[in-house]
């Protein structure tokens, strides 16, 4: 089973746990584990080209944060050299590196979350508590392709009538504004029609019902329990100060092997599942 085949809530618990630790336990070990885990998962679910470009971009981002941090923060006791009479310290350099890693990890996990928790699953999770907001989101997502079509029609109509043929930016802006205003008027009219129709069919009289076919299976229960236990352990160790890093005035890393190992396992989880599935698939093909 891939992570995306589990119940939406299982995936949500997983991402919440990983993101919480990544964002708020500020230590190089956590940053590395998390970034590597997210990266591996993204690498097996997307094209090599995309992975290469991600790798280049996020290495660059991390490098920029690492190099610039000592320019802004002059704490730390080990000056490497001086810029404008201010110390460029080793401690600040490492702080920047850690910040870069954790930022990269958070962005990559958000990307992974987008791959696993599609809009439908998110609506399933949050729609029950907030049916009105869920309805608004669904309707908005429905409006956007319609807007694209209507915009095309309006633009074509305007072009056919021979208005504003010149290509200057000012004319283009003017034309876009005309079309956009017409688009707004048209969309709101249609919207008001929809609203009247909803009212006529009795929207809001009864509670909204949902049609989804997600089932919470035994495996989901087992995985949620496992994630929660690991998350709780990591939190406890973090509160005891065994998963922390102090950078100023001197670098002091306190990373016990146990919580770091647990967290690394947690991060590698989607990647392992994904690889296991593809091996199974290849094996099945070979048997045929």
């Amino acid at each position: 089973m891939r992570l995306s085949a589990f119940h939406p809530l299982t995936a949500l618990v997983y991402f919440a746990a990983v993101l919480a630790v990544t964002m708020f336990c500020f230590s190089p070990a956590v940053g590395i584990c998390s970034a590597v885990g997210a990266f591996l998962f993204c690498a097996v679910t997307q094209s090599c080209r995309q992975t290469a470009s991600d790798l280049a971009f996020y290495s660059f981002l991390t490098a920029v944060l690492t190099v610039t941090n000592p320019l802004f923060s002059h704490k730390g006791v080990t000056p490497l050299f001086f810029v404008n009479g201010k110390a460029y310290t080793k401690e600040a350099l490492f702080y920047g590196l850690t910040a870069g890693l954790s930022l990269t990890a958070v962005i990559m996990w958000c990307k992974a979350l987008g791959k696993v928790l599609t809009r439908e699953k998110l609506l399933y999770i949050f729609g029950r508590k907030t049916p009105k907001a869920a309805l608004v989101i669904t309707m908005t997502m429905g409006f956007i392709p319609k807007l694209k079509r209507l915009h095309r029609q309006l633009l074509d109509a305007l072009n056919c009538s021979g208005a504003n043929i010149s290509d200057s930016r000012f004319d283009r802006l003017k034309k876009d504004c005309t079309v956009f205003t017409a688009l707004c008027a048209g969309t709101l009219e249609r919207g008001a029609d929809t609203a009247a129709s909803m009212k006529a069919r009795g929207y809001g009289i009864q509670k909204r019902s949902f049609a989804h076919s997600f089932k919470f299976r035994a495996w989901d229960g087992i995985f949620v329990a496992t994630f929660s236990v690991i998350f709780a352990l990591v939190l406890i160790f973090s509160a005891k100060g065994e998963l922390s890093a102090a950078f100023y005035p001197v670098i002091k890393l306190e990373n016990s092997v146990f919580p770091v190992g647990m967290f690394a396992l947690l991060c590698a989880f989607p990647f392992i599942l994904e690889v296991k599935e593809s091996i199974k698939w290849k094996y099945c093909l070979a048997k045929m």
Partner: protein, 228 residues
């Protein structure tokens, strides 16, 4: 009913200091970023729940959805001019004609849904909060903003600048876990060009769109009876 409301309000107020305290306990080094993130999420979630409880008819929901779609789509229409987008202006206009509640929801939804296209991230709750509040304040000042053009222009400039400054403040807290003035100034300086474009585009779209929208809403009111 009112006592039930009071209890839920009190619970909500208790959650905030608890979250701060928990953040300090568990995430010593990162407690700034944790607490700011948690507070943004709690505020937006609180407003969403409040919106759920209140009675609102289908017209309001559809108009919020339509305006959100327009503001997200506007980002694509005007994409040939970088940074020049009508989002904030549309949020403000919605608030002017439909009230502060619709303004907040349109702002928050714009941030959420446009990030489905442009990338979700840890910044989403902040964008939701800042855009939502822009709508809320515009709704509060609606009467004055509709009457006076200079006031509307000032509001557009302030909301554009504030959006940029607040997002820079967030990046700063997020990167350093402390407020370092020199980094903040460097961030503000590097984004100054875009801040300027935001402010200019807000004013431009407010001036261009506010009159047609006034007309559109008036007609809708006549035809369908918006305010009932």
């Amino acid at each position: 009913m009112s006592s039930k409301k009071l209890v839920s309000g009190l619970i909500y107020l208790l959650v905030i200091p608890l979250v701060c305290f928990g953040g300090i306990m568990f995430f010593r080094e990162r407690f700034y970023s944790f607490v700011t993130a948690a507070l943004a999420i709690l505020t937006v979630a609180g407003y969403f729940l409040h919106f759920e409880k209140k009675h609102s008819d289908s017209t309001q929901l559809v108009i919020i959805a339509a305006m959100t779609a327009l503001s997200v789509f506007g980002r694509i229409v005007f994409s040939f001019l970088p940074g020049f987008k009508p989002c904030t202006a549309i949020v403000i206009i919605t608030a002017l004609y439909m009230g502060r509640e619709s303004g907040f929801m349109t702002g928050a939804m714009t941030a959420l849904i446009s990030n489905f296209y442009f990338g979700q991230g840890a910044w989403t709750p902040f964008q939701m909060l800042v855009w939502g509040l822009t709508g809320y304040f515009a709704g509060m000042l609606a009467d004055k903003l509709i009457k006076s053009k200079p006031f509307l222009v000032t509001f557009g400039i302030i909301s554009g600048t504030a959006f940029s400054l607040i997002m820079d403040l967030w990046s700063c807290l997020w990167a350093d876990n402390a407020f370092i003035l020199s980094r903040y100034l460097a961030l503000v300086g590097s984004s100054a060009f875009f801040t300027l474009i935001y402010a200019v585009s807000n004013v431009f779209f407010l001036l261009v769109l506010s009159k047609p929208f006034g007309r559109i809403f008036k007609r809708l009111d006549k035809k369908y009876g918006l305010k009932n």
